[in-house]
Amino acid sequence: MDRDISQIIEALRSSECGTGAFDAIIERYSERLYWHIRRILVQHEASEDALQETFVKAFLAAKSFRGDSEGSLVAWLYKIATTEAIRSLRRRKRYIFTSIDSLSHQLVADFEGEIAPDADQITVRLQRAVLALPMKQKLVFNMRYFDEMSFNDISQITGQSVATLKTNYHYAVKRVKQSVEELEYE
């Protein structure tokens, strides 16, 4: 089932990308993309829907993929997944003109109902702090800290400059540290 990555990319870039090549992509990247989406949307059902939508969009846009390495494929999939997750969040907003950052409190509240019974308290605290971050900082923090991506890869995904991402990450780390410490004393 686990096809060689060069074969997958070759099949993806060919004019007639079949579902066979895509099954290999789903098998290989589902878990990673799911956690990336879930860290944004929190709820399992919404994350699953967004994940499905990500793969469908990627399949339909397969011809537009221009990369030739696994890194570029991952960045491309992450870009679609991030867009889908943000789109899902926008649908959850009550008012059109409010920012999606206004949903932070809602996301933290949703998280309380999604915590695994055997979850480590430190990671729970960390996750609460991350969910309270503004979206730009949250995205860069998630991709850098949890997915261990380079700033260049994150730049490809978000379309922001490396300098902006580094600044956002710096503020995110600062705020997360502060929040975790505050939560510790509560």
Partner: protein, 94 residues
């Protein structure tokens, strides 16, 4: 990750994603065929329109004109030539 997820959820998600992609692929094929048929019909009608315009606007072929004249009786032809001569004379008089 501190999120709640069942053991089988990940496998189930993979299966559902595969099914969603297969559904999308099945929907895309007929749509592509319809788009291809429409574009082919448009191309053919454009070619036909160009041919029709060329046919209607083409200059009258000289040989064809002579052929048509061959069927005209000689006296009628004579009358026609007289008419032309008279007409040309009228113009020069003006």
């Amino acid at each position: 990750m501190p999120y709640r997820i069942s053991d089988g959820d990940m496998e189930l998600m993979k299966i559902r994603s595969s099914a969603a992609v297969a559904r999308a692929a099945a929907e895309v094929k007929p749509r592509r065929r319809v788009r291809w048929a429409i574009s082919m019909a448009m191309a053919v009608s454009m070619v036909l329109a160009v041919v029709a315009i060329w046919y209607l606007e083409r200059p009258m072929h000289y040989e064809l004109f002579i052929e048509q004249l061959a069927d005209v009786p000689a006296d009628v032809l004579y009358d026609m030539s007289v008419d032309v001569v008279e007409y040309e004379e009228d113009i020069t008089l003006l």
